[in-house]
C-alpha cells in the first residue's frame, strides 16, 4: 500500500470526487426544503426546486409587469457596469500610483504612508461621507468600489515594482534610459500581468462593495434586488441570484485569466505555466 501522499486519483475519479460534495449539498437542501414545506406549504425560506425554477423563469425570461424590463438582465447589466467601472478605475489608479510609488523613491516616501493608512480604513464605515461628497447616484457606488479596491492594488503593484530585480533597472540605465523611459518600457510592461493578477485577487472585494452599495441606494442591480426581495423573504429569488453572482464572479475571473495568458505569454512561460 502506497502512502496517501503518493496516491493520485485518475482523471475521471477526480472529476467524480469533485462533484460529490455538490451532490451532497443538493440532497441536503432538498431534504431540508421538503421537511419545511411539509410543515408549512407557504414556507419561503427553502423553496422547492419548482419554485426556484418559476422564479428564474420570471426573472430571466418574462418582462417585469412594472417596468417591462427583464429584471435579471437589467440588474446584471447595471451591476456589471458599476463593477467594470469601479474595477477599471481602480486598476488605472493602481497602475499609475503603484508604478510611481514603486519606482520613484521621493514619491514613495511622500505617499506610501497615506496609501497604507487608507487601505486600513474599512470603507463601509465611511459610507455617509462618501454619499455626501459623491452623491447617491452611480458615482458613489463606483467610488465605494474604488475606495475599497484601489489602495490594495496600489500597494500590491508598488511592492511588485520594488521587487523587480535591481539589476534590470541598472541595466536599463546602462542602455541610457531616463526615468520616464524606464517606467514606460521596463516597469509598466512588466507590471501589467501583475496588475491583472491584482485585479483578479480584488474582484471578490469589488463584488462585496458593489453589493453593499447597491443595498444602500439603487434602483437596479443584483445587490439591490437581493436586498429588496429580502424584504419579503423571497428566497426563491435570492438563491438563484446568489448562484448567478457566483457564476459571474467565476466567469470574470476566467476571462481575466485567459486574457492574461493571451496578452502576456512571457509572464506565464516565466512562471512555468506552459503557453
Amino acid at each position: 500500500m502506497k502512502r496517501l501522499i503518493n496516491l493520485r486519483p485518475s482523471r475521471s475519479t477526480g472529476i467524480l470526487l469533485g462533484l460529490l460534495p455538490f451532490v451532497v449539498l443538493l440532497v441536503v437542501y432538498l431534504a431540508g426544503s421538503q421537511a419545511r414545506l411539509a410543515d408549512n406549504p407557504n414556507d419561503k425560506l427553502l423553496p422547492a426546486f419548482s419554485s426556484l425554477g418559476d422564479a428564474v423563469e420570471r426573472m430571466a425570461l418574462e418582462p417585469s409587469k412594472r417596468s417591462g424590463d427583464i429584471l435579471l438582465w437589467t440588474d446584471t447589466a447595471a451591476s456589471l457596469q458599476r463593477l467594470g467601472l469601479g474595477v477599471g478605475i481602480s486598476a488605472l489608479i493602481g497602475l499609475v500610483f503603484g508604478v510611481a510609488l514603486g519606482t520613484v523613491p521621493y514619491l514613495r516616501a511622500g505617499l506610501s504612508p497615506l496609501v497604507s493608512s487608507l487601505s486600513l480604513i474599512p470603507p463601509l464605515a465611511l459610507l455617509p461621507i462618501l454619499f455626501i461628497v459623491f452623491g447617491l447616484g452611480e458615482l458613489s457606488k463606483v467610488v465605494l468600489i474604488v475606495f475599497g479596491v484601489a489602495p490594495f492594488i496600489i500597494r500590491d503593484l508598488q511592492q511588485r515594482a520594488q521587487e523587480l530585480p535591481a539589476e534590470l533597472l541598472v541595466k536599463a540605465q546602462t542602455l541610457g534610459a531616463s526615468t520616464w523611459q524606464i517606467i514606460l518600457r521596463v516597469v509598466v510592461p512588466q507590471l501589467l500581468p501583475r496588475l491583472l493578477d491584482a485585479v483578479r485577487l480584488s474582484l471578490g472585494a469589488a463584488w462585496l462593495f458593489l453589493i453593499a452599495a447597491e443595498a444602500i441606494a439603487a434602483t437596479d442591480g443584483l445587490g439591490y434586488r437581493i436586498f429588496l426581495v429580502r424584504r419579503y423573504l423571497a428566497m426563491d429569488v435570492v438563491l438563484p441570484y446568489v448562484v448567478w453572482i457566483t457564476l459571474l464572479a467565476y466567469l470574470t475571473d476566467l476571462l481575466l485569466r485567459i486574457a492574461s495568458r493571451r496578452a502576456f505569454r512571457w509572464y506565464h512561460q516565466l512562471n512555468g505555466e506552459g503557453n
Binding site: 443595498a215 434602483t219 429588496l228 424584504r231
Partner: protein, 329 residues
C-alpha cells in the same frame, strides 16, 4: 406546551417600551407570574427581525401592519396581532428639498425604503393628488443612510420615519409636504405572535399584554418614574428626552388598553387593511401565487374577514387587550 419564548424587537419610537420593559424587569415579572420565560431580543435591522420571526427563530416580533401581511402572512406563517401599540400620526412623512407642495414631487427621484410603509405612505399621498408612481422614480435607500442621503446634493425628495424624519427636517430647506397624520390609523405598529404558539400558550399572550400595558401606564405619566422610563428609552434609541418626546408627539400611543381595543374593533381597520392588501398586491409582495389582493385572508374581531377565508394568515385579535382593559391579567 413550552415555557420559553423569544420576542424580537427593533429600535423605533413605538417599540422602545419593549427594551425598557426588558431592562426594568417588567417583562420578567410578568413571565414569572405566568410561569414562563420570555427572552426579549433587540435586533438592529428591522427586516432581519421579521425574517427571523417568519423563519421560526422567534415566537413574537414587532412590526407594522403592512409588513405583517407581506412577510409572515404571505410566507404562510399564521400570525396574530396581539398588541396594537400605536399608529403613526405624523411620524412618517414626505420631505422635499426647496419645494413646498406635494405636487412638486412629480418627476423627481424619491429616496425611500422600497416596499416599506414609507412606500405605502407615498402611494397614499399620490392617491390624494391623483398622481401615481409612474410620475416619479423610486430609489431604494437603506434607512440607516437616509439622513446622510438627504444631505447629499442630488437627493431632493425622501419619504421616511422618525427619528430620521426629524433629523432631516432640522436641515435647511427641508419641507414636510405630507405625513401620516393625513392618513391616521393606517400605519400601525404591533406586536405579532405566531398564531399556533399563541393558541397553544395563552399564557404567553397574557404575560406580554400584561407587561406592555404596565409599561404604558408607567411611561405615560409625567411623574418621576415616567420621566425616568422615557429617558431610558430616549437613550436607547440614541437621542435625548426632548427628542424622544417629540417623536412621541407624532405617534398615537395607545397607553390605554381600552383605546387599543376600540381601534382594533373598528371598521376602519378593515378598510385600512384592504388598502394595504391592494398596495401589496400591486407591488408583488403577496407572492407569485397571489391571484388578487384578497389572496391572503385576514380575520378581525367580531368575525369580520377580508380576502380568502380558506387562506387566513393574519388575525387581529383584541381578546388579550380586552383582558388588560378589564384588569383581568
Amino acid at each position: 406546551a413550552k415555557d420559553k419564548f423569544r420576542v424580537a424587537w427593533s429600535i423605533y419610537v413605538g417599540w422602545m417600551p419593549w427594551g425598557y420593559g426588558e431592562q426594568a424587569g417588567i417583562v420578567k415579572k410578568w413571565g414569572d407570574k405566568y410561569g414562563i420565560d420570555i427572552e426579549v431580543v433587540q435586533i438592529n435591522d428591522y427586516i432581519e427581525s421579521i425574517n427571523q420571526y417568519t423563519a421560526g427563530a422567534f415566537d413574537a416580533c414587532v412590526m407594522t401592519n403592512m409588513d405583517a401581511l407581506t412577510i409572515p402572512a404571505a410566507g404562510g406563517v399564521d400570525s396574530t396581532a396581539l398588541i396594537v401599540g400605536d399608529f403613526s400620526n405624523g411620524n412618517d412623512g414626505i420631505v422635499l428639498k426647496d419645494k413646498s407642495t406635494l405636487a412638486d414631487i412629480k418627476g423627481q427621484s424619491v429616496n425611500l425604503v422600497e416596499l416599506s410603509v414609507s412606500h405605502y405612505l407615498l402611494a397614499r399621498a399620490l392617491d390624494s393628488i391623483g398622481a401615481s408612481e409612474q410620475d416619479l422614480t423610486v430609489v431604494n435607500t437603506s434607512d440607516a443612510d437616509m439622513v446622510a442621503a438627504y444631505a447629499s446634493p442630488d437627493v431632493t425628495a425622501v419619504v421616511t420615519w422618525n427619528p430620521l424624519l426629524s433629523e432631516i427636517l432640522a436641515m435647511p430647506n427641508a419641507n414636510k409636504v405630507f405625513d401620516s397624520s393625513r392618513i391616521p390609523g393606517e400605519i400601525i405598529d404591533m406586536l405579532v405572535v405566531n398564531s399556533d404558539t399563541l393558541k397553544a400558550n395563552p399564557k404567553l399572550g397574557k404575560a406580554l399584554t400584561g407587561a406592555w400595558f404596565e409599561i404604558m401606564a408607567t411611561m405615560s405619566k409625567d411623574d418621576a418614574a415616567g420621566i425616568a422610563a422615557r429617558t431610558e428609552m430616549a437613550k436607547a434609541s440614541g437621542t435625548d428626552m426632548a427628542g424622544y418626546d417629540a417623536q412621541l408627539a407624532t405617534t398615537k400611543m395607545f397607553y390605554n388598553a381600552a383605546d387599543a381595543v376600540a381601534f382594533t374593533q373598528s371598521a376602519d381597520l378593515v378598510q385600512t387593511m384592504a388598502h394595504v392588501a391592494k398596495f401589496s398586491f400591486d407591488h408583488g409582495l403577496l407572492g407569485e401565487g397571489a391571484a388578487d389582493a384578497g389572496f391572503i385572508g385576514m380575520a378581525f374581531p367580531g368575525g369580520k374577514t377580508l380576502g380568502d377565508g380558506a387562506n387566513t394568515k393574519l388575525r387581529f385579535d383584541a381578546t388579550y387587550m380586552q383582558l388588560a382593559a378589564d384588569g383581568k391579567l
